[in-house]
């Protein structure tokens, strides 16, 4: 596999992960149910854990430990050999497993198209419209402050 192809695949996986981790578990489940999912095995059973979240003041200050966050992770392997990994904030283990499954499907030549069109694309549309709606709602309540210059006399 050439480096370009490899980078393309990585970008696709990254894009899928960005959508899936922000989506609702029930929705991923219902969309996955609708498509024909191949046989897979749990390489790493879904589990909960903690990660240390680090931050930088102002985005470029010295790093500090902000606090711990709960994450769930899982890894699956399709019968054809693709490995999928799933990480998500929170304690929803099934969501982590479904994300791992989607990650594996995105890499498989056979299922990449189906999972993109039936699962990821609809979720992405929904995520974007939801974001736009929130942004619009927030924008509607915006207040512009003017500094009034005290007039003379």
């Amino acid at each position: 596999m050439t480096a370009v192809q490899e980078n393309g695949k990585q970008a696709r996986r990254r894009a899928a992960m960005a959508v899936l981790s922000h989506s609702d578990a029930a929705e991923i489940a219902s969309r996955l149910e609708a498509m024909a999912v191949p046989v897979y095995e749990n390489l790493r059973e879904p589990e909960n854990g903690l990660v240390m979240v680090r931050g930088r003041i102002g985005g470029d200050g010295a790093p500090f430990n902000l606090g711990e966050a709960t994450v769930s992770r899982a890894a699956v392997r399709l019968s054809t050999g693709e490995l999928g990994f799933g990480y998500t904030l929170g304690r929803d283990r099934q969501k982590a497993r479904m994300i791992a499954l989607c990650d594996a499907l995105v890499q498989s030549d056979e299922f990449a198209g189906a999972v993109e069109s039936q699962v990821i694309a609809p979720l992405r549309t929904r995520m974007i419209s939801e974001r736009n709606r929130t942004a619009a709602e927030t924008a509607a309540t915006r207040v512009d402050f003017y500094t009034l210059v005290r007039g003379e006399g």
Binding site: N42, L43, R44, E45, G81, L83
Partner: protein, 202 residues
């Protein structure tokens, strides 16, 4: 990047499998010479026995440096599997490892290449996990020590043949020393540092 790899799975039920394996290892350590069975099922890399894999998944983590003998590290399978499932660092220096996995017990290196711990911290020693042919058939070995009522008789085909002669260093080193876990398929026998060989039969 690994996309297609033959990486065997870990425990199907992490918590219960790890608990039952821990119990087996603890019982084996408490009753030296007794044969314990490991019931938990897990995927196993080619060079490993079932018991070794279960012990690895139960006892190893990022705080336990591991040393692998040449038969274990011949292919990267075992290292990859251990790294993925346990996160334990595999190191080249056997004198600071917490566990040493010996796939081919015949070529067990000299014991002084492993950690004996210190008098203040005798627990900072290496535990050898030795894969042997059989723990139910073979020449009889009589053992004595704490945890054994009288004499325990073990019938086992153990390599290297002079294992117990080598373990005599535990007598002089105490409280420092080396603990050994013998594994044959899914059965284990522990030889902690306090156990002494009484007699060896045919």
């Amino acid at each position: 990047m690994t996309t297609v790899a033959e990486l065997p799975a870990g425990f199907a039920d992490k918590v219960l499998s790890a608990q039952s394996t821990f119990r087996s290892v603890m019982d084996a350590m408490a009753r030296p010479g007794s044969v314990q069975r490991i019931a938990a099922a897990a995927g196993v890399p080619a060079a490993m026995m079932r018991g070794t894999a279960a012990i690895a998944l139960t006892l190893f983590d990022h705080d336990t440096p591991l040393w692998l003998d040449p038969s274990m590290s011949a292919t990267s399978d075992v290292t990859k599997w251990l790294k993925f499932h346990t996160g334990a660092p595999v190191i080249a220096d056997s004198s600071i490892c917490s566990f040493a996995l010996i796939g081919d017990a015949r070529s067990l290196p000299s014991l002084d290449r492993f950690a004996f711990g210190s008098n203040e911290y005798p627990d900072r020693s290496t535990t050898l996990v030795l894969q042997v042919e059989s723990l139910t058939q073979g020449p009889s070995i009589e053992l004595r020590g704490p945890g054994i009522d009288g004499v325990a008789v073990l019938r086992a085909a153990i390599q290297p043949a002079d294992l117990f002669e080598r373990l005599k260093i535990n007598q002089t080193l105490f409280p420092r020393g080396i603990d050994v876990v013998l594994v044959a398929d899914d059965t284990i026998v522990a030889i902690p540092r306090t156990t002494r060989l009484v007699a060896k039969g045919g």
